[in-house]
């Protein structure tokens, strides 16, 4: 995945916040960004599955990224959004604290995730992108959803 992206000239990332950290994901997987809406809880599912929402007549599961990445839970504010992605032919929503911007990154400025020490669930992280004086943690939606399926 990361290798593939490295071949292309530029990476377009959607940047969003979870707590104070900024995260990035390949914009091509993003279908749309929705305001928070009513989520129907589904029993007997892992805690990071917040439930299901109605997106124009189809029902899709919503994953709480904070819980998924093992971050502390926090109350959602007005700025919270659901990012709707198409991952492995499945449409899912990710709840994030805030969507910041869409930015372009030179692949040379992406470092492998293993520079990080332990303590972060690195399987969901495809790399760290550096831009100006900011750092973006690049997520790999495939693993985030895949493991959810398993």
């Amino acid at each position: 995945m990361a290798e593939n992206e490295a071949i292309s000239d530029e990476l377009k990332l959607i940047i969003f916040k979870l707590g104070r950290e900024e995260y990035g994901m390949d914009i091509l997987k993003v279908q749309e960004i929705k305001r928070m809406m009513s989520i129907t809880r589904v029993p007997s599912t892992p805690s990071y599955i917040k439930g299901v929402i109605n997106l124009r007549g189809s029902i899709l599961p919503v994953i709480d990224l904070r819980t998924r990445l093992g971050l502390l839970e926090a109350d959602l504010t007005e700025a919270a959004r659901i990012i709707v992605l198409l991952v492995n032919e499945v449409i899912v929503g990710f709840i994030v604290d805030e969507v910041v911007e869409v930015t372009t990154i030179n692949p040379e400025n992406v470092e492998a995730a293993n520079v990080l020490s332990s303590g972060l669930s690195t399987e969901y992280i495809s790399g760290i992108a550096k831009a100006e004086n900011r750092l973006y943690i690049m997520l790999n939606p495939d693993t985030i959803v895949n493991i959810a399926q398993a």
Partner: protein, 680 residues
């Protein structure tokens, strides 16, 4: 030619024809020598041959070709349809099914057909004498055929000299598909292909007319070539919209004679090819007769991708949801005019919904028609005589149900045949007809479809069931003693139950009835079994007509709303905390003297227990039918009854036990549908 775009159609049609083959060969077994049946078999085999040759599946074409040879001899009466032939034909159908399956799986050609082909060939030769006789009339018919293409002297000379050189001369009659546009283009493509393989001596009509579209559905070509007839035929057949190619060796008597003298080799090949060619000619005639017959019925059918129907249904579902929403707006704002308009719309959407649901309905015959063959094979291998009676094949069910119902029915039929029906000797001893009878019946019953599998076999002995259930540790002695006779029968549906003394490859591994029950319940159906020892067993399956749009009761637990399918609801009652008793920690209520387990729905759905109920406070209980017993679901409030459209929760959220799906209410809220059977 890119054949992939036709693959779907090919598979679909091939399967249809295979079913016809199966059915007809069965009929043939009962009435050998019935020409109508033979003709039908022939037509199907021929169509499969043509289609598969076009698509390049040579193994299928080869096998059907050999089948045609045998069938033709049957049709002519030179061969009798004895058991060996019938069996071989069945084997062929099986092999063809395999081959088509392989094509569907994208790996054509993995099955070897040479053995079967050889067997067919040897069957055809089984009566060598008649076969030689057969050749003659064909040569004659070829002669009469050739009269329409008279040759002048020069052409005759060319034919003769070609044969003298050891080349072959064919008269090809090329038939285009009915309704072909741009016939001249197809003709041109055929001519071009023929030019590459040899020399075209003459065409009928003339080439100019062919180029001007000035001909009917077919045209003839006289070709000199060194390729065998099969090769020529296949090449031409591979051109789109060319349906039939009849290649007969040039029928001019003088030429034919000189051929025999000139090159024995060539004539030998001709002779081999000749029978098949003639079949093609006859089959073509029959194929032509068919569309006419269809027209007489005055029906035109349309093949539609099932996915399109699904998306149509989805859209109608959306419409229903939005209509409900408008209704709510009209009600809450008390807009008289709006309400009237919505009433109109309500009627239209209801009709629309009805039509769409009907579109998805498929006759159960589609599933049933593979059973006669299965019953025949099974009863043969078990040494039993069984008459399968099928009734109500025309009864229609939703496509989703049809797709799922096959396996359970196979289980039930196998059970009846293997365990139910006795051996002929035992039946005679018991004073019964030595031929056992298994009935498969489908019919409408209210808003349900009833499927019944009955046999007149030895039935289930309730004593044997008790014994077995005890042995396998499925029930305790105390439980057994409390059971009513009817409930004993239900034990066979428990996982791990089997009454058969010996495990056969047919059944008896104890997974059958349990699997059947699970499947039927997953389809929202109910299974009933009753049996009279010595007289047989009857299994009833009651299925909902459709799975997509249902009536449901909306209820609330805490602040969450859930839907319970109305079909599984028995009643709703109000109780007070004093009505709840416990038996071994299990909360129960009494309903009309019957003990009903009470389940706090909130707990099942992972919610905290509701606030403690005060004495005398009203509580709502929904009594539902979960499988074969009733349970009470304690809910906080009842919202109302509504029509809902069932939607799937998607791939990520599969296997949630308590939830059967979800639906979207008029206000856009997603509501989960309770799977009542999973709670029981």
């Amino acid at each position: 030619m890119d054949v992939n775009q036709y693959l779907g159609i090919f598979l679909e049609e091939a399967k249809e024809h295979l079913q016809t083959l199966n059915r007809c060969v069965l009929d043939l077994e009962h009435e050998p020598g019935d020409l109508h049946i033979l003709d039908e078999i022939f037509r199907s085999a021929h169509t499969i041959k043509g289609m598969s040759a076009t698509m390049g599946y040579t193994a299928i074409a080869e096998l059907t070709h050999e089948m045609e040879n045998v069938l033709d001899l049957l049709r002519k009466g030179t061969l009798k349809a004895h058991a060996d032939i019938i069996d071989t034909l069945f084997q062929c159908v099986d092999r063809l099914e395999q081959l088509v399956e392989d094509v569907a799986n994208g790996q054509p050609g993995s099955v070897d057909v040479t053995a079967l082909s050889a067997k067919l060939a040897s069957l055809a030769k089984g009566e060598t004498q008649p076969q030689v006789e057969v050749k003659k009339p064909i040569m004659e018919s070829a002669k009469t055929d050739s009269s329409k293409m008279s040759l002048n002297e020069t052409e005759m000379d060319m034919v003769k000299s070609a044969i003298a050189q050891g080349l072959q001369v064919f008269e090809l009659t090329i038939g285009l598909r009915q309704g072909t546009l741009l016939k001249s283009v197809r003709a041109y493509m055929a001519m071009k292909a023929l030019d590459e393989m040899g020399d075209v001596i003459k065409t009928d009509p003339l080439v100019e007319d062919l180029e001007k579209d000035n001909f009917g559905q077919e045209f003839s070509v006289l070709l000199v070539t060194d390729h065998p007839a099969d090769k020529v035929r296949d090449t031409i057949l591979s051109i789109a919209e060319i349906e039939t190619v009849v290649a007969s060796p040039c029928g001019n008597q003088a030429v034919a004679e000189s051929a025999t003298v000139g090159s024995e080799n060539a004539s030998a090949i001709d002779a081999v090819n000749a029978p098949a060619d003639e079949h093609t000619a006859e089959a073509t005639k029959e194929a032509k007769a068919e569309p006419g017959a269809a027209k007489q019925k005055g029906r035109s059918l349309l093949r539609v991708d099932a996915e399109k129907l699904d998306s149509l249904l989805n859209l109608v579902g959306e419409l229903v949801i939005n209509k409900t929403r408008l209704q709510q707006i009209g009600l809450s704002n008390q807009l008289q005019e709006l309400s009237e308009a919505i009433e109109q719309m309500d009627r239209v959407t209801t009709d629309l919904q009805g039509v769409v649901m009907k579109l998805r309905m498929v006759p159960v015959g589609q599933v049933f028609n593979r059973f006669p063959r299965m019953v025949r094979d099974l009863s043969h291998s078990l040494g039993k005589e069984i008459n399968l009676v099928i009734q109500g094949e025309e009864t229609e069910l939703d496509r989703t149900v049809i797709d799922e119902i096959g396996d359970p029915l196979v289980h039930l039929l196998r059970n009846s045949i293997d365990h139910g029906i006795e051996k002929p000797a035992d039946r005679t001893a018991a004073g019964k007809n030595p031929v056992g009878e298994v009935r498969l019946i489908a019919r409408h019953e209210g808003n349900h479809v009833l499927l019944m599998v009955t046999d007149d076999g030895k039935g289930l002995k309730s004593e044997a069931i008790r014994q077995k259930a005890l042995e396998k540790g499925l029930v305790t002695k105390a439980e057994l003693d409390m059971m009513e006779p009817g409930d004993v029968m239900k034990l066979v549906f428990l996982p791990g139950f089997s009454t058969a003394e010996t495990v056969t490859d047919v059944s008896g591994r104890g997974v059958g009835m349990d699997a059947v029950r699970t499947k039927i319940e997953a389809l929202g159906g109910v299974l009933e079994l009753d049996s009279t020892p010595g007289h047989g067993t009857r299994v009833k399956i009651r299925l909902p007509l459709t799975l997509a749009i249902i009536q449901a009761l909306l209820i609330q637990v805490h602040d969450e709303t859930y839907a319970i399918p109305l079909g599984s609801i028995d009643s709703t009652i109000n109780i007070t905390p004093a009505d709840i008793r416990t038996i071994q920690q299990q909360e129960v209520i009494l309903l009309r003297g019957q003990i009903i387990p009470l389940i706090r729905l909130g707990r099942c759905l992972g919610l905290m227990d509701a606030v403690d109920y005060e004495d005398g406070q009203e509580m709502y209980v929904v009594i539902v039918q979960a499988g074969d017993h009733r349970i009470g679901l304690l809910v906080d409030s009842l919202v109302g009854q509504q029509e809902i459209v069932i939607k799937s929760l998607g791939k990520v959220l599969t296997g949630i036990r308590q939830i059967a799906g979800a639906t979207i209410l008029g206000d856009g809220q997603v509501v989960l549908i309770i799977d009542v059977n999973a709670l029981g």
